[in-house]
């Protein structure tokens, strides 16, 4: 619950940075914060009370059932959000990398990183 709220707050902070900061690099940092917040929210949603990581080892109680299959008795957290967040992180990384290289390129062409200096296209 706390993690969830922290994640949401991080998202809002990221949005705030994206909407207020003029420097493109800072806007991108804002985007990163927004992304991180999202990841926290995802992980928080997968949490199960008093559970461990979804890796079936000594920390998790297991039992053999009649047919020889293994019954997992111990509590583990939902593995799905953990798997999803992995993908989400990589995607966030890719977008951030591209944004940064656009910023680098733009700085070389326009010699400014202030987003207000690039308003030629409009209406």
């Amino acid at each position: 619950m706390m993690v969830l709220i922290c994640g949401l707050l991080l998202m809002l902070i990221g949005i705030w940075a994206m909407l207020i900061k003029k420097n493109i690099i800072r806007i991108i940092i804002g985007f990163s914060i927004l992304d991180t917040g999202t990841h926290l929210v995802i992980v928080a949603i997968g949490y199960v009370k008093h559970a461990t990581a979804p890796i079936v080892d000594k920390a998790v109680n297991i039992s053999q059932n009649a047919e020889g299959g293994i019954q997992v008795l111990g509590k583990v957290v939902d593995p799905v959000p953990s798997a999803l967040v992995l993908t989400a992180i990589v995607i966030g990384l890719a977008v951030t990398a591209l944004l940064l290289s656009f910023a680098v390129r733009l700085y070389k062409v326009g010699n400014s990183l202030n987003i207000n200096d690039y308003e030629e296209l409009k209406w």
């Binding site: 709220i5 199960v48 979804p54 293994i70 939902d78 593995p79 993908t87 290289s101």
Partner: protein
């Protein structure tokens, strides 16, 4: 002024949107049916202790293939954007003796650790991406420390291309060997013994390939940011 007001409204508003969800959120005490069947299936059908890896590599392997593609995309995009005709002159100071030595000493260890992480991805926490990132961080250290260090472009591109290619081939092998619904199914290799490093079918191979792929992509990004992109 009006803009600040609007931004304020926007942030309050977005927070407000999440309110109903937060209000009724309570941490669950047990897994939902899908997650339960993942946990059971991972252990029983794939012989894999790490359920997250089972999902990432097998059940939702298509996502991971997409993820690898995204990484490839980022590399290609960054390289394409930062392409330069001539290398810029490097103005950095040469590193100190301690840093140079330390870096050369640490890098092989870091790379080895990375390999360990992706090779044990199916057994313990970790996996291809994590391992790849660790490997890339080793090379990053080398790049930061040693101004004369250059990646071999050809080598990076080759390993990028070939590892991606092999990954798709490993997926297709499932399709060929196990039937039309088995793209990315690793069970064409034997499941092996519980907790053995060589077990769970093709998963270790796939995760290693992902590790190499991820590592070389990230090295390529570092290289592009360092020296400007290269003509592929």
């Amino acid at each position: 002024m009006i803009k600040y007001l609007l931004v304020f409204v926007a942030i309050i508003g977005i927070g407000y949107i999440f309110l109903p969800f937060v209000m009724e959120f309570s941490t669950p005490t047990k897994l939902n049916p899908l997650a339960t069947s993942y946990v059971q299936g991972s252990v029983n059908e794939l012989n894999m202790p790490n359920v997250v890896t089972a999902i990432v590599v097998t059940y939702r392997g298509l996502d991971t293939l997409g993820e690898v593609t995204v990484l490839f995309l980022a590399t290609a995009g960054v390289g394409f954007l930062l392409k330069r005709k001539h290398d810029m002159v490097n103005h950095r100071r040469k590193c100190s003796e301690i840093l140079c030595t330390g870096a050369s000493l640490l890098t092989p260890l870091i790379v080895l650790f990375g390999v360990y992480i992706f090779a044990h991805g199916h057994l313990s926490p970790g996996g291809g991406f994590q391992g790849g990132v660790v490997i890339a961080s080793g090379f990053l250290l080398l790049v930061m420390a040693n101004i004369s260090f250059h990646f071999s472009h050809n080598l990076i591109h080759f390993s990028e291309s070939i590892s991606g290619f092999i990954y798709v081939l490993l997926g297709l092998a499932g399709l060929v060997l196990l039937g039309a619904n088995s793209f990315l199914d690793p069970r064409y290799l034997p499941a092996g013994k519980w907790l053995d490093i060589v077990s769970t079918g093709a998963v270790p191979i796939i995760y290693s390939i992902i590790g190499i792929k991820g590592g070389s992509e990230l090295c390529s990004v570092i290289d592009s940011l360092q020296h400007g992109g290269t003509e592929l």
